[in-house]
C-alpha cells in the first residue's frame, strides 16, 4: 500500500503497466497477470521484448504468436481459453455474448438454438475445472455438429 501510494505520489497519469519476467503459458487471461508483475499483453502475445532484433518486434508480437484470431483453425480454442469464465457462465445460463460470439466462430447464425443444446449438456462440456480449451472446443463443436444445431 505504501509503495503504491508513494509511486502514485510521484508519478501517475495514464498507461497500463507491465513488467518483464513473465512465463507465457497458453492464451488464457493468465495466472500470472498481477501476481508476479508480468503482463497480460506479453502473455497473450508470447513474445519477448528483449533483443529488438532488426525491425521485428511488432512483426513478431503480432505475427507469430499463437494467440491470434487468424484463419489457422485455432481461433476458437484461443477464444475459449481467454473467455472461459464468461463462456461457462453463458452456457450454464443459456445466453450471452461469449456464447453468441463462439457460435458465430463456428459459422452458425442462430445462437439462440445452439444455446439450449449446450446448456443441456453443460456437464459433459465442463466435466471438471481441469478441462482444457481444446477439450471444450472439441466437445462443443461435436455437440453442435451431432445435434445439427447449427444453421
Amino acid at each position: 500500500m505504501k509503495k503504491v501510494l508513494f509511486a502514485a505520489a510521484l508519478a501517475i497519469v495514464s498507461g497500463s503497466v507491465m513488467a518483464k519476467g513473465y512465463q507465457a503459458q497458453g492464451c488464457g487471461l493468465g495466472s500470472t497477470l498481477f501476481t508476479d508483475g508480468s503482463s497480460l499483453v506479453h502473455q497473450v502475445l508470447g513474445a519477448t521484448t528483449n533483443g529488438l532484433s532488426a525491425n521485428q518486434t511488432f512483426g513478431m508480437t503480432s505475427g507469430t504468436s499463437n494467440c491470434e484470431l487468424d484463419k489457422s483453425g485455432r481461433a476458437s480454442t484461443v477464444f475459449i481459453e481467454a473467455n472461459k469464465v464468461a463462456l461457462q457462465n453463458d452456457i450454464a445460463r443459456g445466453q450471452g455474448e461469449a456464447l453468441t460470439t463462439l457460435t458465430k466462430m463456428y459459422g452458425c447464425s442462430n445462437a439462440s438454438s445452439v444455446a439450449p443444446v449446450l446448456q443441456k449438456n453443460y456437464q459433459s462440456i465442463f466435466p471438471s475445472q481441469a478441462v482444457s480449451a481444446e477439450q471444450i472446443d472439441g466437445a462443443i463443436s461435436s455437440l453442435v455438429r451431432n445435434q445439427k444445431a447449427c444453421i
Binding site: 495514464s14 498507461g15 502475445l45 521484448t49 481467454a82
Partner: protein, 625 residues
C-alpha cells in the same frame, strides 16, 4: 563488353532521370514540409528545434532522418521507387514503412510491385472496417490507471446490428516497466526511462482485463473515417510497432500516441496540437470531439460490477437477503426454497455475477478451489432451461467521460481573515477533480487531484507576517470513497502529500511538509456523500519546535450534496489530537463550502473556515479548461 557498359550507363542514366523526376515532383509539391509527411515522421517542435520524437535509427532511411525531413523524404523515395531491392520481401522498405508508401504512392502517382506477407497477415486478421478510441474508466487502485487509459479498437462489423465486438482487434501502447521499485518506477516513468511498446491483440483480452478483472467501464468512441484514412492508420501502426519509443507518463504516454497515430489519417484533425502538453487520457477524447463530426457513435460497455448492480436492482429485499445468505454460507441450497423456477434462475444469475465480481482476482488466477465451487452453481443453473435475462445496455450518459469538466483548473478569490484582514488567493490545479467540481462524466465518489498550488496575498502588511505566501502546494490528494452498503462493504480511504500552511492552536502560519492517510466508511445516495474517516497526519518543518514535526490523529466528518449543473453544498468537520513538542494539543476546524456552476465551465465558490485560532472566508471564481 562495350555494349554491356553502354547498357549499364543507359540504365543508370534512366534511373537517375526517374529519380530526379520524382524528387523534383516531391519538391514541387513541397512534400518535405507537408503536414502528413511530418506526422508520419513524428516531428515535433520543442525547445531545441524541430525533430522527431522517435529516436531509434531503424525508423529512418537517412542518417539525418530524425532532424531533416527533406533528407528522409529523398531517402524514402529512392528506397521505394528507385534502388533495386534484393533482400527478403518482408524487409523491403515499402513493407517496413507501409504508411509512407501509401502516402507517396498517392502524391507521386507511382506504384511498385512488392509483397509483404507479414504485413498482409497483420491486416487480414484485423479485418478492420472502422476504428474507435476506447477509454477505460478511472481505476484508483493502481497509480498508473488513476486517470484512465485509452487504446484503439479496430471494428470488424461497425454498422451491423450484432457487432461481435469481442472478435475485434485492439491496439495498445504501454510502458514496458522493468522495475518494481516504486522510486525507480516513478523516476523512470517521468523521464522516459522505460520504453513504450505497441501491441495489437484480440479485443476480448481487453474486455476481460478491464471489464471483468478490474471492473472498469469501457467507453468506445467510434470515428467517422474513410477507408483510405483507416488504411493509413493501420499501416502507420505497423511502422510504429517496429521500434521502441521512450514512454513518458505525463506527456508521451498511451493516450498521446493514440492521437499521434490518428493524426496521419488527416492532417487537418491536428489532434496532438489540440491536446495540452501534459496528456491526461480524458483530454485526448476531448481533442477528438473538437473535430466536427469525427465522433460517429458512443458505445458503453459496463463493468462486471455494473452488471451485478443491474441484476441486483431488480430483486426484492427478501431476494437480496437470500442472496447474501447463500453467499455467506457458500451454499446455493438456500435457493431451493423458491418454487418458481424462473425466479430461482434469476437469483442464480445474480449470484453468479456476484461471485465473479467478488472473486475476480482468484478467478483470473484460475484458483482451483474458487472455480470448483463456482462450477457447482453453474451446474445448478444449467439445469434450469430458462435463458437468463438479457441486460439491455442503457448508456449512463451522465457518466460519459467526454462530458466531464476540463482537467485543469484556475481560480482567483478574495477573502477575509479574522486577524489578518483582507487577502487574495490564486490557485492552479493541474488535474483532475474534487468533490465540489461538477460530477458529470467523473467518478462520483472520488477526488483525484495532482499538482494543486495556492498562492495567498495579504493586503495589510502590518497585520500579516508575510504578505505573499504559498498557502498550499499539494502534489497529490486522493479520496476514494465507497458506498458502504449491502453487497458492497468496501472501505473508503484518502491520501494527501504536499506542502501546506498551518494556522491553528499549535502554530500560526507555519509552512510544513504534510502527509496524511485516512480510512473509514462512507455512504452515498442521490448525489449525497457522507463519510467518516479516521486520519493520521504528519507535518514537518525545520523551524517547527525542537523536534521539527508534529503528528496527529482524529476523525473527519464530511458531507456534500450536489444538484447537477447547479450547485454543491458541503461541510467538513475535523478534529485532531496532536503530539507537538513533547505535549498533546487538540485542534479542530469546521469548513462549510458551496459551489455554483455557471456556463462555459465557470463556477463560483464560497468557502468558510472556522478553526481554534481564527475564522476566515473566501469567495473565488473558478474556470476549468
Amino acid at each position: 563488353m562495350i555494349r554491356g557498359f553502354l547498357f549499364l550507363a543507359l540504365f543508370t542514366f534512366s534511373s537517375m532521370a526517374s529519380a530526379n523526376e520524382l524528387l523534383q515532383k516531391a519538391a514541387e509539391l513541397n512534400l518535405a514540409q507537408d503536414k502528413t509527411w511530418l506526422n508520419l515522421l513524428h516531428y515535433r517542435s520543442g525547445m531545441f528545434g524541430t525533430k522527431s520524437e522517435i529516436g531509434d535509427s531503424r525508423y529512418y532511411l537517412s542518417s539525418e532522418g530524425r532532424t531533416d525531413a527533406q533528407s528522409e523524404l529523398a531517402a524514402t523515395i529512392k528506397a521505394f521507387f528507385i534502388d533495386p531491392y534484393s533482400g527478403i520481401s518482408d524487409q523491403h522498405p515499402a513493407c517496413r514503412f507501409p504508411a509512407r508508401y501509401l502516402y507517396l504512392k498517392k502524391k507521386l502517382n507511382r506504384e511498385i510491385k512488392v509483397n509483404c506477407p507479414k504485413l498482409q497477415y497483420y491486416k487480414d486478421k484485423m479485418e478492420a472496417k472502422g476504428v474507435a478510441l476506447v477509454f477505460s474508466s478511472y481505476f484508483l487502485d493502481t497509480p498508473a490507471s488513476a486517470f484512465g487509459h485509452t487504446f484503439l479498437r479496430f471494428l470488424k462489423n461497425p454498422d451491423k446490428e450484432e457487432s461481435y465486438e469481442l472478435l475485434d482487434y485492439s491496439l495498445n501502447y504501454a510502458a514496458v516497466v522493468t522495475s518494481s521499485n516504486a522510486m525507480i518506477y516513478a523516476i523512470m516513468g517521468l523521464t522516459g526511462g522505460f520504453n513504450g511498446e505497441f501491441a495489437s491483440l484480440p479485443h476480448f483480452y481487453k474486455v476481460r482485463e478491464y471489464n471483468d478483472h478490474e471492473s472498469r467501464d469501457l467507453w468506445s468512441y467510434e470515428l467517422n473515417i474513410t477507408n483510405d484514412q483507416l488504411d493509413m492508420i493501420i499501416a502507420h501502426s505497423w511502422e510504429l510497432g517496429q521500434v521502441p519509443v521512450p514512454y513518458y507518463y505525463l506527456t508521451a504516454n498511451c493516450s498521446y500516441f493514440m492521437l499521434a497515430l490518428l493524426d496521419v489519417a488527416d492532417p487537418n484533425w491536428r489532434l496532438v496540437e489540440r491536446t495540452p502538453h501534459f496528456v491526461i487520457p480524458v483530454d485526448t477524447l476531448k481533442s477528438v470531439a473538437q473535430v466536427p463530426g469525427l465522433i460517429k457513435k458512443v458505445h458503453y460497455r459496463p463493468s462486471k460490477r455494473k452488471v451485478f448492480e443491474k441484476r441486483l436492482s431488480s430483486l426484492s429485499s427478501e431476494d437480496k437477503d437470500l442472496l447474501q445468505k447463500a453467499y455467506d454460507q457458500n451454499d446455493i441450497k438456500i435457493f431451493d426454497s423458491i418454487s418458481d423456477i424462473q425466479h430461482k434462475a434469476k437469483l442464480l444469475d445474480t449470484f453468479i455475477d456476484m461471485w465473479d465480481y467478488k472473486n475476480s482476482k482468484a478467478i483470473t488466477k484460475e484458483d482451483n478451489e474458487t472455480l470448483q465451487k463456482k462450477n457447482q452453481f453453474l451446474i445448478a443453473r444449467s439445469q434450469i432451461s430458462t435463458p437468463s435475462q438479457k441486460l439491455i445496455g442503457e448508456t449512463p450518459s451522465l457518466e460519459n467521460p467526454l462530458l466531464g469538466h476540463g482537467s485543469r483548473r484556475l481560480s482567483a478569490g478574495i477573502g477575509y481573515h479574522e486577524t489578518r484582514k483582507n487577502f487574495f488567493d490564486f490557485e492552479f490545479r493541474f488535474a483532475l477533480h474534487d468533490f465540489f467540481d461538477s460530477l458529470i462524466g467523473q467518478n462520483p465518489l472520488a477526488t483525484m487531484e495532482m499538482g494543486r498550488f495556492k498562492l495567498r496575498y495579504y493586503a495589510d502588511k502590518k497585520k500579516a507576517p508575510h504578505q505573499w505566501r504559498f498557502q498550499e502546494a499539494y502534489l497529490l490528494n486522493v479520496q476514494s470513497l465507497a458506498d458502504f452498503r449491502e453487497f458492497f462493504r468496501a472501505m473508503s480511504w484518502r491520501f494527501k502529500l504536499g506542502l501546506r500552511t498551518i494556522e491553528d492552536r499549535s502554530c500560526d502560519a507555519c509552512q510544513v511538509a504534510h502527509t496524511s492517510l485516512g480510512v473509514g466508511i462512507s455512504r452515498s445516495k442521490m448525489n449525497h456523500i457522507l463519510s467518516l474517516l479516521i486520519a493520521t497526519e504528519v507535518d514537518a518543518a525545520k523551524d517547527y519546535g525542537p523536534h521539527n514535526y508534529r503528528i496527529g490523529l482524529g476523525p473527519e466528518l464530511f458531507w456534500r450534496y450536489q444538484i447537477l449543473n447547479k450547485a454543491s453544498f458541503g461541510l467538513l468537520a475535523d478534529y485532531k489530537r496532536r503530539f507537538v513538542n513533547d505535549r498533546f494539543q487538540e485542534t479542530w476546524s469546521l469548513g462549510p463550502q458551496s459551489r455554483f456552476y455557471m456556463a462555459n465551465e465557470w463556477s463560483m465558490d464560497l468557502k468558510g473556515e472556522w478553526t481554534d485560532r481564527a475564522y476566515l472566508g473566501t469567495l473565488s471564481l473558478l474556470k476549468t479548461f
